[in-house]
């Protein structure tokens, strides 16, 4: 699209446009596309069968199951949390509101490893809540709950950050209108707010999903890396890599990349669809006038 518009408008020569486009594509190619190709090539270096066998390994299967399970728990929770936070921030004025906006972004600022350590200090056996949790038979650290909590922390801002600016920009006039028409809170959310933000919400959920599946740092601290039990896909990849099982590591990495690609393509499809809806609306308006 950029190339199609080369040279019009601001008046720079066409060749400058082409150089810039080429440079951008070159960077993307070398930095993003090539590594992806290398991963798939590495996975298939010793043939399909080796890659398939590596993925059929019970430990690999366990890692894949765990990763999908964690994502399946984290994405809904963060969706609910993100929506609740955005709703509060847009609809209510309360003391500490600005602080909450800042705090939501904290996970982006804190290193995931530090976040993981923090939860070990809180929930580990030597931690604040550790003895209590042990006495009640609820393992958190070195178990699924710890992995889920760490992943929630890391992915916390993703849904809220997508939804909040949109809700803020759209204001609450439509919600107020629904209120005067007798709708209750749930009806307002379901019939008025949700349809307005659905594309942003879906985008946030997809990003959250991608990050939840790929998280390494925080999870590696809290999981304890028990093979076949608390190894997620990223942890398993590193493990295989360090033990020189390169084809197996690349096979697992390919699968994880594929999952990420599916997420990205879904997002692209959604955006494309969203733009089409907007364009249709705009066309309809221009026809009217």
């Amino acid at each position: 699209m950029a190339a199609g518009r080369a040279g019009d408008g601001i008046g720079e020569p066409a060749w400058a446009c082409w150089v810039l486009v080429f440079a951008a594509l070159a960077v993307i190619g070398v930095m993003l596309v090539m590594p992806l190709i290398v991963i798939f090539a590495g996975a298939l270096a010793q043939g399909w069968n080796v890659a398939a066998a590596a993925l059929a390994d019970p430990d690999a299967q366990s890692a894949i199951r765990l990763t999908l399970l964690v994502a399946a728990i984290v994405v809904p929770l963060n969706t609910v949390f993100g929506l609740a936070a955005a709703w509060c921030l847009v609809h209510f004025r309360f003391p500490g509101r600005a602080l909450l906006v800042t705090l939501i972004e904290l996970p982006f600022a804190v290193s995931p490893v530090v976040a993981g350590l923090l939860y070990v200090l809180l929930f580990g056996l030597q931690g604040w809540f550790g003895p209590f949790l042990r006495d009640h038979g609820v393992p958190v650290i070195f178990a699924l709950p710890g992995i889920v909590i760490a992943t929630i922390f890391v992915t916390l801002p993703l849904v809220a950050r997508q939804v909040m600016p949109l809700m803020q920009a759209q204001g609450i006039a439509e919600e107020e209108a629904a209120l005067t028409l007798g709708a209750n809170g749930w009806q307002i959310f379901r019939l008025v707010t949700l349809p307005k933000i659905r594309w942003a919400l879906l985008t946030g959920m997809l990003l959250c999903n991608a990050r939840a599946m790929g998280e390494f740092g925080a999870v590696s601290v809290v999981s304890g890396r028990i093979t076949g039990a608390t190894m997620t896909m990223p942890l398993q990849i590193e493990n295989l890599y360090n033990s020189y099982s390169l084809p197996a590591a690349f096979a697992m990495a390919s699968l994880l990349s594929l999952l990420a690609c599916v997420t990205i393509f879904l997002r692209m499809a959604l955006e494309w669809h969203g733009e089409r809806v907007v364009a249709r609306g705009a066309r309809a308006v221009s026809v009217q006038r």
């Binding site: 006039a173 107020e176 209108a177 209120l179 028409l181 007798g182 709708a183 309809a284 026809v287």
Partner: protein, 245 residues
């Protein structure tokens, strides 16, 4: 009858409404006139229950309105920018208030359809039920907003600068039509305006607000006389603000 007693509202240190006392008779057509920042929209929102007073009370038909949810006040509200549900068709917009009713109070699907069709013809939008708000002109959107507010059969109709965003010709058409609608439906109608001409042309009673206080309350005829001879608002800069605001 709506009775406001010593009604005050502050936004932080700003006193937006200062101890307003006002009685609005059932069936009357009242204009709240004033420059921006005079508190007229705040007053309307307090009536609707979209905002809450810091002091004073509102009684609607003798009953205190404090605890009443906006949906329980039997009001219809038309917003400044219409606030139509942009993802719903015109039909769905108008049907909204009927469809969100509790199951026991909700009519059948056919009832809803009939009611919406009736409203569509009342606001002269027959056949446009399937359009989206984005596919309508400003005047048409305004009428959808009105039909949506009227669908729940409110006894009180509140309009916030209903013609503000429309061009002159459309505005004058809609004015006459709104007046007609009011007379036909016997609602109590309160509308906010910063356009003096509009308020005088449309209402039975014009209440002029300035700085959160009522500075004039009269029939259009009386107010015209006052404005022509004494220009009492002029000293406070009101008239200029009203005419050009």
């Amino acid at each position: 009858m709506i009775r406001l007693c010593r009604l005050s509202r502050n936004f932080g240190p700003t006193k937006v409404l200062r101890s307003i006392d006002l009685v609005i008779e059932t069936g009357s057509f009242v204009a709240l006139l004033g420059p921006s920042g005079s508190g007229k929209t705040t007053l309307l929102r307090l009536l609707a229950g979209l905002d809450h007073p810091d002091a004073g009370s509102i009684h609607i038909d003798g009953k205190p309105a404090d605890g009443l949810h906006p949906g329980e006040r039997s009001i219809g509200f038309v917003f400044k920018s219409y606030a139509l549900f942009n993802h719903m068709t015109v039909f769905e917009n108008i049907a909204f208030g009927l469809r969100v009713r509790p199951r026991a109070a909700r009519g059948s699907r056919a009832d809803t359809r009939a009611a919406v069709e009736r409203l569509l013809s009342m606001v002269h939008l027959e056949g446009l039920g399937a359009r989206l708000p984005a596919q309508l002109s400003g005047g048409q959107r305004q009428r959808v907003a009105l039909a949506r507010a009227l669908a729940v059969e409110p006894r009180i109709l509140l309009l916030d600068e209903p013609f503000g965003a429309l061009d002159r010709q459309v505005r004058e058409e809609l004015r006459a039509w709104l007046r007609q609608l009011h007379d036909q439906l016997h609602t109590t109608t309160v509308f906010v305006s910063h356009d003096q001409e509009e308020a005088l042309a449309l209402a039975d009673r014009v209440i002029v607000l300035r700085g959160g206080e009522i500075v004039a309350d009269a029939t259009p005829a009386d107010l015209r006389g006052v404005l022509a001879y004494r220009l009492p608002l002029h000293h406070s800069g009101g008239v200029t603000a009203l005419q050009h605001g």
